[in-house]
């Protein structure tokens, strides 16, 4: 794996977000015990993955063993540094982790991964203002950290600062224009901020990006599309002809046909997923189903 990408991944690590950590841990532990990991082609990456999985499974002794091997081999590589930092975070004492990251940054002020972790630690300590400050300073220097922008948008979203969240997210959109998850998130924040015309437009952009006739009906991609259709419908409902958009977005043309099409797509998905056993009684039933069935967007 590319070093820079690996660092970015570590920087955006969140506890227990990886859905397969249990399996990774159970599969990996015997290999660690029997020294079988040494024979793997990706032995060091394997240790890193196992260390994180062990942290997720709260087996700190195992992750300590992995990190010890890595420290012996790579010494003061920033990647190992950050991994050790994550281990310190897992102890539940953010102050110590914060101090650790501060020390890393003193040694090397350009260690962006440590900087990102520091912002995250500040965030879990509840110092959202400090976290935003750090992230802004970080992104001012390292503009192209997409995950950093998404994180900043998240923090702003937490504080209901929708406008700032949208601005931060647009940088992520610029940097990764091919990622529909960011567009969907943008649309959802626009919806939350009450800017319905903008939300409709962005939901439709998501649809335009993701709808693919051949995608299996239960795929992730389909979920994104359906969620976007659902968003379209909801925003259209809250859209009155005299709605004023804070962003001066024009009202969508043919709003009525779009609304109908959205319902059609949702109905289609409903029938396919329930195998035609039942039909939704009303529009509200269908929306109710959509809100419960469509999973929240995974963090890409």
């Amino acid at each position: 794996m590319d070093f820079a990408i690996a660092l970015q991944k570590l920087a955006s690590y969140r506890p227990r977000r990886n859905p397969t950590y249990k399996k990774t841990f159970d599969d990996g532990l015997p290999l660690l015990d029997s020294d079988g990991w040494k024979r793997r082609a990706d032995s060091w990456e394997f240790l890193e993955v196992l260390a994180l999985a062990a942290l997720d499974s709260e087996r700190y002794d195992v992750s300590d063993r992995c990190i010890k091997h890595l420290v012996e081999k790579f010494g003061n590589s920033p990647r190992v540094d950050v991994l050790s930092g994550i281990r310190i975070e897992a102890m539940g004492k953010p102050e110590i982790a914060l101090e650790y990251y501060n020390r890393l940054l003193e040694d090397d002020p350009t260690n962006s991964a440590a900087w990102r972790r520091k912002a995250y630690v500040l965030r879990i300590m509840g110092k959202l203002d400090k976290s935003v400050e750090e992230l802004t300073a970080l992104l001012d220097t390292f503009y192209n950290e997409v995950d950093g922008w998404v994180e900043l948008a998240e923090v702003y979203h937490l504080c209901n600062q929708y406008n700032y969240a949208l601005q931060a997210l647009s940088h992520a959109l610029l940097l990764a224009p091919q990622n529909p998850f960011y567009v969907l998130e943008f649309a959802e924040i626009a919806y939350a901020s009450g800017d319905m015309p903008l939300a409709v437009k962005m939901f439709l952009v998501t649809v335009d990006m993701t709808d693919d006739e051949d995608a299996p009906i239960t795929s992730y991609q389909m979920d994104v599309t359906l969620r976007a259709w659902y968003g379209v419908k909801l925003s259209l409902r809250r859209l009155a002809p005299d709605t004023r958009s804070p962003s001066q977005t024009t009202l969508p043309a043919n709003a009525e046909i779009i609304g109908k099409l959205a319902m059609e797509r949702l109905q289609h998905a409903y029938e396919q997923r329930t195998q035609g056993v039942s039909t939704p009684q009303s529009e509200d039933d269908l929306l109710e189903w959509a809100s419960t069935t469509l999973k929240p967007t995974p963090q890409a």
């Binding site: 350009t110 567009v183 437009k201 952009v205 043919n254 099409l261």
Partner: protein
């Protein structure tokens, strides 16, 4: 007299004591060179935060401009970013040493020789080149001194006369068959032909096989190595970027502008544009 009628008999000693040694020495020197270059390589100097910021500032506007014609972000944000960047570039906010004071002239383009950081980069390149050149010169001298005029090997296939200068360097005989290879030519054949072997022994990014790139252009490697250390005149780059931003402003078009029509057309709810216009 025809050259094919006369057969040259090569002493097997030549094979054992000249042909093989030249090849083996060249392979070993290549391998050694790889390790020396690896040892000589200093890790690239770390940039300070301010320097990185300066370097990446251009990236911001480049990223913004790259998608301007079909921008994923709505106009109010696009114009805000564009304006902000324009202001920042004009005021020199991203410059490493801070914005210019009023009345202060922009510094002249930095001289590559006076900048110690740049010198480091140049020295590294020079060192690598020295390691490349010196052994080759020594081997060539060795061959010239001991084996001058030796005929080492006969190629198993016929060749045209044009190859004479390539295969019989160091032997001034107009009549000899082109298939005979002289010692100096054997050296050159090895010099260019061993790259594949080095790749096999040392992996694809070894520093032994660079010789061919060096031969194509001495600057080919230098540009790559010199890039990070090379001083750039960010004043000029930023002012050029301002023009580009203004240009992109004219190109700007939001992806969401007509997205509803596009989607409806895709699902056949609206007539397609061709039938509309007819």
């Amino acid at each position: 007299m025809s050259s094919s009628t006369i057969s040259l008999y090569l002493d097997p000693q030549i094979r054992d004591w000249v042909l093989f040694p030249i090849t083996v020495v060249m392979i070993l020197v290549g391998v050694l060179r790889h390790y020396i270059v690896t040892l000589l390589q200093t890790p690239p100097k770390k940039l300070t935060r301010a320097a990185i910021r300066e370097q990446r500032a251009v990236l911001r506007s480049q990223v913004l401009r790259a998608t301007a014609a079909k921008s994923p972000i709505p106009p109010h944000i696009y114009h805000a970013i564009s304006l902000h960047l324009d202001d920042a570039f004009a005021a020199g906010k991203y410059l490493k040493d801070g914005p210019l004071k009023p009345g202060e002239a922009p510094p002249a383009a930095p001289n590559i020789l006076s900048d110690p950081n740049a010198m480091d980069g140049m020295m590294a390149g020079m060192k690598a080149q020295m390691v490349m050149m010196v052994p080759q010169m020594v081997i060539m001298g060795w061959i010239n001194f001991f084996f001058q005029g030796f005929v080492l090997i006969k190629l198993p296939f016929p060749l045209t006369l044009g190859f004479k200068s390539m295969l019989q360097r160091g032997i001034e005989t107009p009549d000899m068959d082109v298939r005979w290879v002289s010692s100096l030519s054997w050296y050159f054949l090895n010099f260019f032909g061993l790259n594949g072997l080095y790749r096999l022994i040392l992996g694809s990014d070894n520093s032994a096989s660079q010789s061919s790139q060096e031969m194509v252009s001495p600057f080919a490697g230098a540009v790559q190595q010199g890039q990070p250390g090379q001083p750039m005149d960010y004043h000029k780059i930023f002012s050029a970027e301002r023009d580009n931003l203004q240009f992109a402003e004219g190109l700007y078009n939001w992806l969401g502008d007509d997205v509803e029509t596009r989607v409806l057309r895709k699902y056949g709810k609206l007539p397609s544009p061709s039938s509309e216009s007819s």
